[in-house]
Amino acid sequence: MKALYLLIPLAPLFGALVAGLLGHAIGRGGAHRITIASVLISFIAAVVVFQDVLSGGTFNGSVYTWITSGTTRLEIGFLIDRLSATMMLVVTFVSLMVHIYTIGYMKEDPGYQRFFAYISLFTFSMLMLVMSNNFLQLFFGWEAVGLVSYLLIGFWYERPTAIYANMKAFLVNRVGDFGFLLGIALILAHVGSLDYAAVFSQANALAGQSIQLLGSQTWMLLTVICICLFIGAMGKSAQFPLHVWLPDSMEGPTPISALIHAATMVTAGIFMVARMSPLFELSDTALSVVMVIGAITALSMAVVAITQFDIKRVVAYSTLSQLGYMTAALGASAYPAAIFHLMTHAFFKAVLFLGAGSVIMAMHHEQDMRRMGGLRQYLPITYLTVLIGALANAGFPPFAGFFSKDSIIEALHASHTPGAGFAWACALAGVFFGGLYSLRLVFMTFHGHPRMDAHTRSHLHESPWVVTLPLVLLAIPSIAAGWSIGTVLFGDFFSTAIQISPQHTAMATLLHEYHGVVAMMLHGLTALPFWLALAGAVTAWYLYIVRPDLPKVIAGQFGMLYAVVERKYGFDELFSWLFAGGARVVGAGLWKAGDQTLIDGLIVNGSARVVGWSARLMRLVQTGRVYQYAFTMVFGVLLLLWWPKIRFFFGFGH
């Protein structure tokens, strides 16, 4: 079994190395064949492992020792349980679909082999992240997926917007990693190990400790650790206010928006917090922070989504909002619900992105929905799959998103963690906007009158099978994945992988109220979230089909408010002014005032100048005229002779 575990991440790494280093030799066909084959191997192995895990097999062991220092040993190793096996399955499946899709999407791109190398490398990194049994390797994977994300956002490196976006993404993520690393350092300093098992076994002991940060104020150590770790999650999973990088990441090619910036990498933060449940469960303060941040993200980003016209950006904001739901669920101690939503979201958001990519291809790289419309008849398969994705995203039964999102809302309702009421209200309001932006996307793109120019219109056609096949294969779980709710959420599926303390009752309440898939759907039809989503959908229908002239009027009515939302609340401008600008001002100030003026100017060159001046002064005496030297000598002798009298005359000495 251990060989199989190794095979899962190493197969894509091999594919990446071959495609990356020998891309020229093996050609385009060779590159996609070898990477797809390796990811396929990885996927099949993940299925085998998943089945093994279902029948009770778990694994926790090291592969090799990375370093030893003092009394600690830091290792690279795997923890295979139901949580990691689920993630491995999702990652390899979506990755496989995206690999196939890429053949069609990147067909004419000169960087074809490089692209395949990157997405395989990403798959490797992501698998190392989820399979880790320790914080060190988690951080390895964490940073490695960040690197690949950086490379892929800037894939089209001649575009100024792309290379700005990738640097921004990397730096914002680094802010998160900064917190994450401090959290890891705190754990190592207080536990003496970075092994999950060792750390979790000492969680209760940690909970009793406190730490002084500012003055004499003491904090619960575990709260500080959890918040530090969560800052890492905020960066990677783009939670408010570190969300600013995700919309800009849409500068990358669409397949990676689906794979990295929707289905897998951005959910790493969610996965991490779920993995750390034994720690988070012991700090209600940290859970509250997680919940409130998630709720703010869920609502505020859904609102922005209704003002965007770039089809990919709409999906990006919808991703932000859905990540907010997952985060809020973590705060409510409903970890299984968060992971369940992560899973269903991976499928339906991948469909939405890949569908959007299919539309963009058909439209000759036009992304503005105002120039689309009526595409339904030209792209029937794309239309159908995107519709499924949108309905799942909006949370309509029987689609997958309904089950996972509804569970989250119910969990927030049932939670007693401080802030739960606020989070529940945000989540509900978010459902309305979710219905609105999801269907708005469908209506603006596929319905109504075609708004593109005649030339584009004459060339419209459905994408090739390599594009539509992944769409269909992803659309199926976008419908059906939700039906497994009974097993995943209420069958004690994650068993010991996730620990929930008895006083956090949200999941228990949900279990109590659950009476099967059909009953849940029927109950859903009478519940508030369904009607809110429906209201959103109907609003979208009215605004974009019945009265397409209205949105502009409404935008005009809400002038200021609309402008604020459309500009994403101004965070981009604020951050770039404050941090990017501020850092440069500080740097220039230190350089000019500190290094150049004070140290070099005053001290270094200053002392050199003093030496120069004194030398010049001394030189005046060295005239070379004998009579002057003789005169000076006589004067000196006289001075010495008269010294006692002079001293007396000036009144010093006696």
């Binding site: 490695a144 490196y157 640097m167 990693d177 690393l181 890891i184 050199a608």
Partner: protein, 493 residues
Amino acid sequence: MSSYPLLSLSIWTPIVAGLLVLATGDDRQALLARRLALLGALLGFVVTLPLYTGFDRASAAMQFVEQALWIPHFNVYYHLGVDGIAMPFILLNSFITVIVVLAGWTVIENRVALYFAAFLFLSGIMNGVFAAQDSLLFYVFFEATLIPMFIIVGVWGGPNRVYAALKFFLYTLMGSLFMLVALLYLYDHSGGSFAMADWKALPLGLEAQQWLFFAFLAAFAVKVPMWPVHTWLPDAHVEAPTGGSVVLAAIMLKLGAYGFLRFSLPVLPDASRNLAWLMIALSLVAVVYIGFVALVQLDMKKLIAYSSISHMGFVTLGFFIFNAYGVEGALIQMISHGFISAAMFLCVGVMYDRMHSRMIADYGGVVHRMPKFAAFMMLFSMANCGLPATSGFVGEFMVIMGAMQVSFWIAFLAASTLILGAAYTLWMYKRVIFGPIANDHVAALTDVNAREIVILSVLALAVLVLGVYPLPLSEIMHASVNELLRHVALSKF
């Protein structure tokens, strides 16, 4: 253990090779000089390999010891030996010498023999610094490094080379003089011994220790360099030829840091503990202040020079938090920085050879013409940001882990390099490599040739191997570092 005088071989092989290279005479024999230099450098590297294979990891004692009376009147010995702290640096130095010879292969066209001889001399002398067990011998080697470097910067340097060479020379000489006074005091105080081992056991009062600490600090802080005596480094780097920058960053800076471990910590443990707060503060200033300064540099070499200072801040920080993570992390950071800074300066050199400019503003879109080069530089830039799985991560990670055991806020400030380091490195990369082709000069660029690919590949491999599997390196250090930490914890009065 080998019966050959391995340490003497590692010192004198490059020096003798340097003499042979000099003997080839003027530039009509340039090719011969190059070949001889490469042979000498390779041989110099090969003779250091048994130091690694024959090293006893379980022992903290000096190994491969050689001892002979040198100046009987003053009781000075030609006394060599290495422990787990010194040995890796001899290998690193001899390795970098090969790289430097290859890097200067076609670039240097005038006074070729002198150029390569200077580097070979420098290599041998620096091995001497790491191997010396007699303080006066150490001092002689330590000071002798200035001469070849002064010549390298002064002869093959840029337009402002005289100012830079003088500044470098006087700055470091000033510091070293204080060290000489300290050495003489200790010689006198120990009853006439220059042996480092004797000084380690020498009882010393706190006040004397503190005076001596500052005297050593003057020498080593300038060399590292620590803030605020760092301003010679950017000037020296900017004016130095590529090879000079490589050796300066990869090895010479380490001499100062190494000095702390050989003198300040073992000979003056009480002063080291008492003044640790000062050293930590200066190190953190280096990390944060210099990180900001690096951000606004317009010249690539200056930027990398400032980045070096910031990274060396981690080294001094690691030493003075007195735990295994800190000291071992700092040592690994020194080795790793040897590879990464060398690679970064070589990358700038590759572009400079083609464009004759180091200014960031003169570049843009280099990737279109030099895709292979861009891939290499991406790897080294990421290593410079401390990305995991590169060697740059290991040292920083361990020092931050060690710092957290002392204080949250020390770790907090140190970890800020995660953001600052990424910001200045990637911003430079973006402006130089990415984007549309900036001008005709960039459009005319040609990608790296076979020689450059070999050099960069070897360094890339080193950076990756050390990042993925640092255990073999850290294992060498354990015994010596533990012994050092045990000793530092003891009081001497």
